[in-house]
């Protein structure tokens, strides 16, 4: 019989969590609760004696100073009771740590099947209707995909039994079995693929059939007791061939046609032509690039003794369904990519970028999670993922647009550091060799995450299987991180990779390519619970696992370290050079596939890509005469959702852990203005720094994705340079999130246009990476950012997200003490603008405010801006610059204001002095988003030195910093346009999300 322990804060103590629920119910739904108290519940499903139960209650689970607890119901004086617990099989980390603590204290071991389950009771005071309680539960406290709940009124309350004894145990009562799949015809296999949710691509089916029907293959298979393909094999092929793993879209053949000019071009393989080739070309000049294009992350040189690793990922589909779990799983997942780079790197930072619908969305569509709730969950997921991993999160972006109501975007990026040599060997090289043991480390395998990869390769619909929603476990992973670094330093790791999308099938399948073969005993894989089929063990994406190749002579030491760090490690097979991947279960072979099969000639995906230039699509410039109230306009701009302060997010993220914080996410006198880039000092004993910045500008995609991409790359580069990054060392990470480009007359009628948008974006990526000298250290594509969202009449409407590129730039800085922040430091400093301003407001914030898109999207002229960047970098490294800031979203007006607000000082600016090209009206000078520009302040005594460095480049002295905290902007021969108090401006900027903590 299970025991239920209820723990609650003493009555007179403030219940912060309960108060948070009360506030949100009021703010989000207008439901007024009088009070909410929370009760933590532990259901102990283990045979413990009464005295043992009492001992763990008092010695572990109850804080005598603040808490009281009981094995009887503790709820009292309530109007409603809400109980929320996990669904069976959902990761319950707190339940596991409770078991750990109980076993340790009592010196016992839980028997198989025994466990502790955590859940929560909310004790509600307030006269509200049951429907209102249900709303609070469904839209605030629980997500039916992972949680279950009960709502109990005082009338239905049984004081003896309380909420009952919730035991969320998984009982499958299923005998694992391998089934075979008939391949009599393509049609039959296609049907079975649909029935079994295999997501095999139609074009692949004949190739798969042909393989299994080959005489030599059939002969070989017979020897191991196999005939028809097994489900294990087809699941494996499906995972490996999914767009997520294989990048079929980027490797596809695009028939590009400009419908206006009639120009036609075939583009064979975007990855090769726009990512790989420019990167290889750039590497000829950049000897700091150590390892790219093959590993879990790219590797660059930090200094002579250390390398850094960087990669970026998205976790859109899971986050869209379960925001907290999806985002948490996403960030800990990208950390594993770094842990699995080379022989393993130590994590030094993570960053985030979220694209969601407007927080106050009140339109007709009913997404599975309202954007506000979704954002709350995503923010919290990354918070727990980063903070609990001990990895700083010093940078991030947030962008609102209602096109992301179909599917939100959650980008997570991570960096690591590793010594150039580990145990005398290059750290970035690794291989598997015949005889190496395959060791699985970390978590256990359950049903969670099955078909995650194939689901990520489809749009979200009501039939999307929810089974791939998981909750990451940073605690387990942090232990594994510490363990693997120690094992690496002792030279015990021959090869390492993470178990991410596709689970063992990807991790083992891909690592076995090096040795050319592997054999795995699936029955040796540790499971969370019995009853998994063999194919499920093979493709499950249960989190927090790494695959390591360990030489037999190192195994004992490896396992001893594993035990020291309380990490589970299991030998599940060995690498060989048989040319086959062979999977056995209790001695019986259930999969036997040639290693070279997946490299064989699968048909290339093909896309029609039809482009129409923006002016031919009907886009024009809007007709707007000069505004008369520029002060009010600036305040309005500052309070726009994509410009205003989102500090509440950065403040929840530990950005100081590891002790190397140099440039923090928020800077300035009051530490509240977002920095251009983040800088950390990864090796505490050294003064070198790592710089990272990111940019995304999907609204420019409304006009032309070519220029969207160019502007995004340029912005990320400028932000790195603004803090002191080295323009000769710019590492790029491209994260594409694109709506489906597969044309379908009914389901995706504009697919050909979206395909052309993707091609153009890649062309810009190629052109600007070559021009700027940016090798792409890493990158990922996440297609299908579409959703079919329910409307008010029960209809479902397809919503496609704006084509989005998150571009990340990494750099190094030799001496962190030369870094610069964006806040002017002293009154009297001279204010310069670098770069030309043009009439380029298209797709920008000002036109959005006016309700327009426009046509003149900002364009980047690389040859014009690059000399400027180099000169500026020189000025910063010479110590001539007091503050520096890249002009981005919202243009000069917004960014002058941000700098003034950061300094707490005033500015006097004369717009007439702003260098420009072509006719640019006054409001256009203020709000054009022309690329290539910086604002810089310089101490007056350094004027000549600074100007000498920029000689012959487009720059101008436009004003100075003044002690009076006013932003004063003049134009048209001294006419005052703006004269606003800095604090008033800041109030406008802080207001939209000022209540959030």
């Amino acid at each position: 019989m299970a025991a239920r322990l209820e723990i609650r804060l003493k009555k007179h103590l403030f219940d912060a969590e309960g108060e948070g629920v009360r506030k949100k119910a009021s703010q989000y739904f207008g439901i007024q609760l009088e009070g909410v108290r929370t009760i933590r519940v532990l259901t102990i499903d283990a045979s413990l004696s009464p005295s043992q139960l009492e001992r763990i209650r008092t010695e572990i689970f109850t804080n005598p100073v603040t808490e009281e607890s009981s094995y009887s119901p503790t709820a009292r004086d309530f109007d409603w009771i809400i109980w929320v617990g996990f669904r069976p099989g959902v990761r319950d980390t707190a339940g596991s740590t409770a078991v750990e603590a109980i076993e340790d204290l009592l010196g016992i071991t839980f028997k198989p099947g025994e466990a502790v389950y955590t859940s929560k009771i909310y004790e509600i005071k307030g006269r509200i209707k049951k429907e209102e309680v249900e709303k609070v539960v469904k839209e605030l406290l629980a997500n039916e995909l992972i949680q279950q709940w009960k709502i109990i009124s005082p009338e239905d309350w049984n004081p003896a039994n309380g909420i009952g004894f919730p035991v969320q145990k998984v009982e499958l009562r299923h005998e694992p079995q391998v089934s075979t799949i008939a391949i009599d015809s393509d049609e039959q296999l296609r049907r079975l693929s649909v029935e079994r949710n295999l997501a095999l691509h139609d074009q692949d089916i004949p190739v798969i059939r042909a393989y299994f029907l080959r005489d030599d293959i059939r002969e070989e298979r017979k020897k191991v007791g196999l005939d028809l393909p097994t489900d294990v094999e087809l699941e494996y092929i499906s995972q490996a061939r999914s767009d997520h793993c294989n990048h079929n879209t980027f490797k596809g053949l695009f028939h590009y046609r400009d419908l206006f000019t009639g120009e036609e071009r075939d583009v064979d393989n975007l990855f090769r032509t726009c990512i790989e080739q420019p990167t290889l070309e750039n590497m000829k000049q950049k000897d700091w690039v150590i390892s790219v294009l093959w590993d879990n992350a790219g590797v660059g040189r930090f200094d002579n003794d250390y390398y850094y690793a960087i990669t970026g990922e998205t976790h859109n589909s899971p986050s869209n369904m379960e925001a907290y779990g999806g985002a948490l799983t996403g960030i800990v997942g990208v950390y594993r990519d770094i842990m699995g780079t080379g022989k393993g790197a130590k994590l030094i930072l993570g960053t985030y970028a979220y694209c969601v619908g407007h927080r106050d969305y009140s339109g007709p569509l009913k997404p599975h999670l309202h954007p506000r709730r979704l954002l709350d969950g995503v923010v919290e997921g990354v918070r727990d993922g980063g903070n609990k991993s001990g990895i700083p999160t010093p940078y991030g972006l947030l962008l609102f647009d209602d096109s992301f109501i179909g599917k939100c975007l959650v980008f997570v990026t991570a960096m690591g550091i590793m010594p150039a040599l580990v145990a005398g060997e290059p750290s970035h090289k690794k291989t598997t060799s015949p005889g190496d043991l395959i060791v699985m480390c970390g978590g256990r395998v359950g049903k969670d995450g099955i078909h995650g990869v194939t689901a990520a390769s489809e749009g979200y619909s009501q039939h999307t299987p929810a089974g791939h929603v998981q909750i990451g476990d940073p605690y387990t992973q942090k232990k594994m991180h510490d363990f693997l670094l120690e094992a690496r330093d002792e030279g015990l790791i021959a090869f390492i990779t993470d178990c991410g999308g596709g689970g063992l099938s990807s991790a083992v399948g891909e690592s076995a390519r090096f040795s050319n073969g592997a054999r795995v005993d699936l029955d040796k894989v540790p499971l969370k619970y019995e009853g998994l089929d063999q194919w499920e063990i093979w493709v499950s994406e249960s989190q927090e696992r790494m695959i390591v190749a360990v030489k037999p002579e190192h195994l004992n030491r490896f396992m001893a370290l594993s035990q020291k760090h309380a990490v589970e490690s299991t030998v599940i097979g060995e690498y060989n050079d048989s040319g086959y991947l062979k999977l056995d279960y209790k001695g019986k072979t259930c999969a036997y596939i040639r290693m070279d099969f997946l490299q064989s000639d699968f048909p290339q995906w093909e896309f029609e890509a039809h482009w129409i230039p923006p002016d031919k699509r009907g886009l024009t410039e809007p007709v707007i005469a000069e505004p008369q109230d520029h002060g009010q306009l600036l305040k309005e701009m500052l309070s726009r959702p994509n410009i205003c302060s989102r500090n509440w997010i950065a403040r929840q993220y530990d950005h100081e852990v590891q002790g190397g914080s140099v440039i923090k996410p928020l800077v300035g006198r009051d530490l509240d203005i977002p920095s251009d880039a983040a800088v950390v000092r990864p090796i505490l004993e050294r003064t070198g720094g790592i710089v990272i910045s990111q940019a995304l500008n999907p609204h420019y995609s409304l006009i032309d994705t070519y220029h969207m991409t160019a502007a995004t790359i340029d912005e990320a580069v400028r932000k790195v340079i603004a803090v002191g990054g080295d323009p000769e060392h710019l590492g790029g990470v491209d994260n594409f999130c694109w709506p489906s480009i597969q044309y379908d007359p009914e389901k995706n009628p504009d697919g050909k246009y979206k395909a052309a948008q993707l091609v153009r974006s890649n062309w810009a990526l190629r052109d600007y990476c070559l021009a700027y000298g940016i090798p792409l250290l890493s990158g990922k594509d996440s297609m299908y950012i579409d959703g079919n969202v329910e409307g008010p009449f029960g209809e479902r409407r397809k919503v496609s997200g704006l084509p989005t590129l998150l571009f990340t730039v990494s750099s190094v800085i030799e001496d962190i003490t030369k870094c610069v922040t964006l806040d002017p430091k002293r009154s009297g400093e001279l204010i310069y603008i670098l770069g030309l301003t043009r009439n380029e407001l298209g797709g920008g914030e000002f036109y959005q405010l006016m309700g327009h898109i426009g046509l003149n999207v900002p364009k980047v002229k690389a040859e014009e801006v690059l000399p400027l960047y180099k000169a500026l970098a020189r000025a910063i490294s010479d110590g001539l610059v007091a503050s520096c800031h890249a002009v981005g979203r919202g243009g000069l007006g917004v960014h002058l204001a941000l700098m003034a607000m950061a300094s707490g000082l005033g500015m006097e600016i004369d717009l007439d002095l702003v260098p420009r090209e072509g006719p640019v009206k006054t409001f256009q000078l203020l709000y054009s988003e022309s690329c290539g520009r910086f604002l810089v302040t310089v101490a007056p005594e350094l004027k000549e030195k600074f100007e000498a460095l920029l000689k012959a480049l487009p720059f101008s002295l436009i004003g100075q910093v003044i002690p009076d905290p006013q932003l004063m902007v003049k134009a048209d021969n001294g006419n005052t346009l703006i004269n606003e108090n800095i604090q008033n401006l800041k109030d406008s900027w802080l207001r939209p999300f000022g209540e959030l903590i």
């Binding site: 689970f61 603040t66 609990k388 001990g390 403040r651 929840q652 100081e656 914080s661 903590i997």
Partner: protein, 276 residues
């Protein structure tokens, strides 16, 4: 010269071990990062495993994920496996420092407040921030000049970051009065003018009673604090360092905030051990 040996515990989700180790080394100690299990395994083979060390640091992090109250499971584990060794360590006049999760562990173990040399009683608590959320923010703390605390000698005000979700100091009224009376309240969250924050947010970032940011035991040799001194180990850690540096450039002086004050807490510990 005498070697001052320090131990920083690691493992099970602790995560400030590298920078804490670095600070101890900067302060002149010979520091060792030791996994909790390593020291527990050692106790099974030998006795008095802590004897070679002079300073024991419980660093920050999320031990056991903080799932059942921050520092709770860590305290339970240590009490169970290392309890006697820790008491013996203290009886030898040595130093214990708990930072953030380490502070939470010390109070759950009972090493703090340690009234009447009883190091086993849970008398105070660090509970959820009043805002209900984790916060990373630099705070100013004022140091009680009358406190016996070894670690804060010579300090008046320090700026340090806090990074926690459970940092609200709570104690029943009588306990709090006893702490104040004994001078055990070492550190209080302060306003920019140096006066106690009196609960004002975000200067007092968590709602701590009496603005308590750190306390010591009556001997001053056990010290726990929520702010992270190890995160201010270089002047570029200070959130406004670029501002002060520009001032230094123009007038040639090094301003006070550019001195990494976090290190002083470790230096005091090393100095104390050297003197005994």
């Amino acid at each position: 010269m005498k070697k001052i040996k320090a131990m920083v515990l690691t493992g099970y989700g602790l995560n400030c071990d590298y920078e804490t180790h670095y600070c101890l080394e900067l302060a002149g100690a010979e520091s060792e990062r030791v996994h909790i299990n390593q020291i527990i395994f050692r106790t099974q083979e030998e006795s008095n495993v802590l004897d070679p060390y002079h300073i024991l640091v419980f660093c920050g992090g999320f031990s056991w994920g903080d799932d059942h109250g921050a520092g709770v499971l860590m305290a339970s584990k240590l009490r169970h496996h290392l309890g006697d060794e820790l008491i013996r360590f203290l009886e030898q006049g040595k130093l214990v420092l708990g930072i953030c999760n380490g502070f939470q562990t010390l109070v759950n173990f009972g090493l703090l407040p340690g009234f009447h040399s009883d190091y086993t009683q849970r008398k105070v608590a660090l509970t959820y921030n009043d805002t209900g959320n984790f916060i990373d923010i630099w705070v100013k703390v004022r140091i009680n000049p009358d406190s016996p605390c070894i670690f804060t000698r010579g300090l008046e005000e320090v700026e340090l970051p806090v990074r926690h979700g459970e940092g609200k100091f709570y104690a029943p009224e009588a306990t709090l009065e006893q702490l104040i009376g004994n001078g055990q309240v070492v550190m209080q969250y302060a306003l920019s003018n140096g006066e106690a924050a009196q609960g004002k947010w975000p200067e007092n970032p968590n709602g701590s009673l009496y603005d308590v940011a750190g306390i010591c035991d009556p001997t001053g040799r056990v010290f726990g604090l929520m702010p992270h001194p190890e995160a201010f180990n270089h002047y570029t850690n200070h959130p406004r360092w670029t501002y002060y540096k520009e001032g230094s450039r123009s007038d040639g002086t090094v301003s006070e905030p550019l001195k990494p004050q976090g290190i002083k807490i470790f230096q005091n510990a090393v100095k104390f051990v050297s003197s005994i």
